[in-house]
Symmetry: C2
Subunit: 432 residues, 2 copies
C-alpha cells in the first residue's frame, strides 16, 4: 500500500499538466539560467574530472555533456548536474532549501535527448520535476537540512526521477515506484560544502533520477512505500514530514514559481546588499560613506575586508559594493579578479564602506545607507524573498546569460526555448 | 583536519598488510562463496534488468559481469553487487550487521580487472575492504540499522571504496578522501527488503566504492572529515560512533574472520535449526516426532506450516527439516520446488514436526528435540555465532559451491584462488 504523500505526488506527476503561463515562463528562465551556469562552469577542475571519467567509460553517445562530448544518459546527468552547480551560480528555492534546476534539468535533458523527445516535452517534464523537488524539499524541511543533509541532492533526486519518469510516460504506479526506489539511493551531505563534493552532490541527484527511471522502465520492482512511513527516507533522514504544507494547493499553486535566480557571481550572502545598493544608483565619486547592515551569520561567511584575490572578492561586501559603484558588472565571472582587487580606485572606495551585523534582519535581508559627498543621505532595503516582477526578472536573467555565455548564444537559446524543436537540437548548445 | 576514526582507518587501509593465515583462508572461502552466489543468481529477474541496463549503456569492456558480458568497472560493480545478493545466499557478519562480500568483492574484482591487477592483489585489497566494512558497520552500530539503514549498503560502500583504493595504490591521504567522499553517497534503506531493491542496495555499495576511488584517483578533492564529526555520515545517519569497539585491535585482530557463510538456500531464520538437526543424523523413517524451538521473531518470518511452492518452502521450518531428513540437500537451490512440496513422504513427515517460540533463545539460536520410533530421545542446540573449525567450514563452503555451480567449476575456481594468476583469468568464470 502506498502512503498518502507518495500516492498524491505520483498521481500529480503522472496526470494531466495544468501549468500557469507564469510557471512556464519561469521554467524557461530557469532552463536558460541552468544552461548559462553549465557553460560557464566547463573549465572548472571538477568539470574536467567528471568529463574525463565519462570519456574513459565511453558507451552510447545519446546525451550531450557541458563542455562537449556525449554519453549514456545516467553519465550525462551526473556530469551536467555537477558542472552546472560548479560555480554555485544556479537558481535557489527557499522552501525547497536548495537548488532545484541543477538536479532536475540535468536529468530531464539527458533522459529527453536519450528518448528523442521534443524540447517542449522536456520543459514540461522539468516543470513537474521542479515542483516535486520543491514539495519534497518542503516535506523534508529545515530539520533535515539542519541535521546535515544537502537538499539539492536529496530532494533533488526525487524531482530528477519524476522528470525522467514523465519523459518515459510513467503512470501513477510507476511514479510511486520511482519515488520508492529513489528513497534507497538519494544522498548528499552538507559536509562537502567548500569542496568539489558540493557540485558533485547535484550531479548525484540528477544521475540517481535517470537511473531509477530507467530501472522502473525495465520492470524493476521496488517498495513504493520507501519515501514515507516509519522506516522511510523521511523518518531515517530527520525529515519533518509536514505533509499539509508540502501538498498545499498541489495542481493549482506552482511553488516552483518562487525560485530565485542569482544575479551576482559571488557568495549568496552578498546578494541582498547588492540588490539594495542597486536601488541607490551609486556612482563612485559621490560616495562619502556607505554602510551595510546584514544578518549576523554572514559576518563570518562573506565579510573579508580587503581581499587580494578574485576568489576573496566573492566573499567580501566591501569589494563587491565597490565593484558595483565603479560600474563593474557583478554578474560577470571575469570581474572577480586579482586585478580588480589591486585597483587603487577600488581600494580607496572600499575603505569608505562599512559592514555591520544587525539581528533584526533575516538571512535574506540587507539594508544599505548611503551618505553622498553633497550631504544627501539615502537608505535602501532588500529581501531576496520578495517577488520580482516577471519582466524585470526576465531581463535580468537574459543579461546574466549574455554576460556568461555571450549575447549571441544566449539569444539563440532563448529563442529555441519557445520553439517546438527537438531536445537534441537544444542539447547541441552544451558543447563549448 | 581529519578525525581520529578516519585517520586511523585510512592509515591502516593504506599501510603494509599483516594478515593472518586464517584471515587469508577465510577471504578465499568468501571469494568462492561470492562467486557461487553470483553465478547462481544470473537468471533472477533483477539480474536480467541490471545486465540489460549495462548492455544499453555499453562502453569499455574492462570488467566482467555475472552472466556474461563486460562493462566499465562502475557498471560491473553495480551489476555484480546486485546479482551476487539476489538470492540472499551470500555471507553475513553479525558485528557488521550485514553482508560484506557482495559489496567488497564486487568492487574489488571490477576495479582489479580494470587496472590489470593479479588475483592475489585483488584478494589482499578485498581483505582490507572487508575488514574496513565490518569496522565501519560496527561503528555505525545497531542504532543505525534499527533506524532503517541497510548496513550492507552503507558500511559496505566504505569497504568497497577502500578495496578499490587499495588496488589503485592510494596513500593514507587519498584513503581518507575515499572515506570522506563515500560519506556523501553511501545510501540504502531496509525498506527495500522483500523487493529487488535489497540486492540493488548491495550493487549501489559496490558501484559507489569504485566511482569514489576513480574520482579520487583523478584528483577529485572532497572533505575527508565527512564520515565522522558533527555533520558527518555517522551523526546524520543515526550512528552510534562507538570508536573504541570499532578500532579495537585494528591491525592485529581481523574481525572479518568471524564472517558466517550460509549453508542452506533458505531464510536465515531457519539455519540454526537446520544446523542443530544436522547433529542428530536424522533418518526420516526413524522420526516419531521432531520439535523445534526458536526465537519468537522468526515465528512470523519463516514458519509457514504447509507451503505448496518452492518459495514458500524457503520460509518453512517444517518443510526444510523434512527435506533434510529425506536427504534432500538444503544447500541446493533446485530442491526448493513445488514438486518437493507435493511429495507425499515429505508431507507425512512434515506433520510430525512441531515449531515453538522460545524467549530464552537468541535470534541466532535454535534447539531441536528428536523422538525416535524406538523411543530414544535426543536434543541438539546450535548458535550461528559459534566459531566453526576452518577445515569443516572449508569443506562446507566447497560443497555449497559445488552444489550451486557444479563440482568442476567450483574446483577450478578454488584452485585458481591459490595461484598467482591475473584477475582477468578468474573473472572469466563470471560468464555463465
Amino acid at each position: 500500500m502506498t502512503g498518502k504523500f507518495t500516492e498524491t505526488l505520483a498521481e500529480f506527476a503522472s496526470g494531466t499538466l495544468s501549468t500557469t503561463l507564469l510557471s512556464q515562463s519561469i521554467g524557461r528562465l530557469s532552463a536558460l539560467d541552468w544552461l548559462a551556469c553549465g557553460l560557464a562552469g566547463i573549465d572548472e577542475p571538477v568539470a574536467k574530472i567528471l568529463r574525463s571519467m565519462a570519456a574513459a567509460e565511453a558507451g552510447v553517445q545519446s546525451a550531450c555533456m557541458f563542455g562537449g562530448g556525449a554519453g549514456p544518459p545516467r553519465m550525462a546527468a551526473l556530469v551536467n548536474g555537477t558542472i552546472s552547480h560548479a560555480l554555485d551560480y544556479d537558481d535557489t528555492h527557499f522552501a525547497h532549501i536548495g537548488h532545484p534546476s541543477v538536479a532536475v534539468y540535468s536529468a530531464a535533458f539527458a533522459m529527453g535527448q536519450h528518448l528523442n523527445c521534443t524540447l517542449p516535452q522536456v520543459l514540461e517534464a522539468a516543470l513537474m520535476g521542479m515542483e516535486l523537488s520543491v514539495r519534497v524539499g518542503l516535506w523534508l524541511g529545515r530539520d533535515h537540512y539542519q541535521s546535515g543533509f544537502h537538499q539539492t541532492a536529496t530532494a533533488g533526486a526525487f524531482g530528477a526521477g519524476v522528470a525522467a519518469g514523465r519523459l518515459a510516460e510513467f503512470n501513477a504506479t510507476q511514479m510511486a515506484q520511482v519515488l520508492g526506489l529513489t528513497a534507497t539511493r538519494a544522498a548528499g551531505l552538507k559536509a562537502q560544502f567548500g569542496t568539489m563534493g558540493k557540485p558533485y552532490n547535484a550531479g548525484l541527484a540528477a544521475s540517481n533520477g535517470v537511473e531509477v527511471a530507467q530501472l522502473i522502465q525495465a520492470g524493476f520492482e521496488a517498495n513504493s512505500e520507501a519515501l514515507e512511513g516509519e522506516f522511510g527516507f523521511g523518518a531515517t533522514h530527520h525529515g519533518s514530514a509536514n505533509i499539509k504544507d508540502a501538498l498545499a494547493g498541489l495542481g493549482k499553486v506552482w511553488m516552483f514559481e518562487n525560485v530565485s535566480h542569482k544575479f551576482h557571481a559571488c557568495c549568496h550572502g552578498l546578494h541582498a546588499a547588492l540588490e539594495a545598493a542597486r536601488e541607490l544608483d551609486l556612482a563612485a565619486p559621490e560616495i562619502a560613506e556607505l554602510q551595510v547592515r546584514t544578518h549576523p551569520r554572514w559576518m563570518t561567511v562573506c565579510n573579508q575586508t580587503a581581499p587580494n584575490t578574485g576568489l576573496g572578492a566573492k566573499f567580501s561586501y566591501r569589494t563587491v559594493l565597490a565593484m558595483q559603484a565603479l560600474g563593474l558588472d557583478t554578474a560577470g565571472l571575469r570581474n572577480y579578479s586579482d586585478e580588480t582587487c589591486g585597483r587603487s580606485d577600488l581600494q580607496a572606495l572600499r575603505d569608505r564602506i562599512h559592514v555591520k551585523a544587525d539581528n533584526s534582519l533575516s538571512e535574506t535581508e540587507a539594508v544599505v545607507n548611503l551618505l553622498r559627498r553633497d550631504g544627501l543621505r539615502r537608505e535602501s532595503r532588500h529581501d531576496l524573498q520578495s517577488v520580482v516582477d516577471l519582466d524585470i526578472r526576465k531581463n535580468r536573467v537574459l543579461d546574466k546569460a549574455a554576460s556568461l555565455i555571450g549575447n549571441n548564444r544566449s539569444e539563440i537559446a532563448w529563442a529555441m526555448l519557445h520553439e517546438n524543436v527537438s531536445c537534441s537540437a537544444f542539447s547541441e548548445l552544451f558543447g563549448s
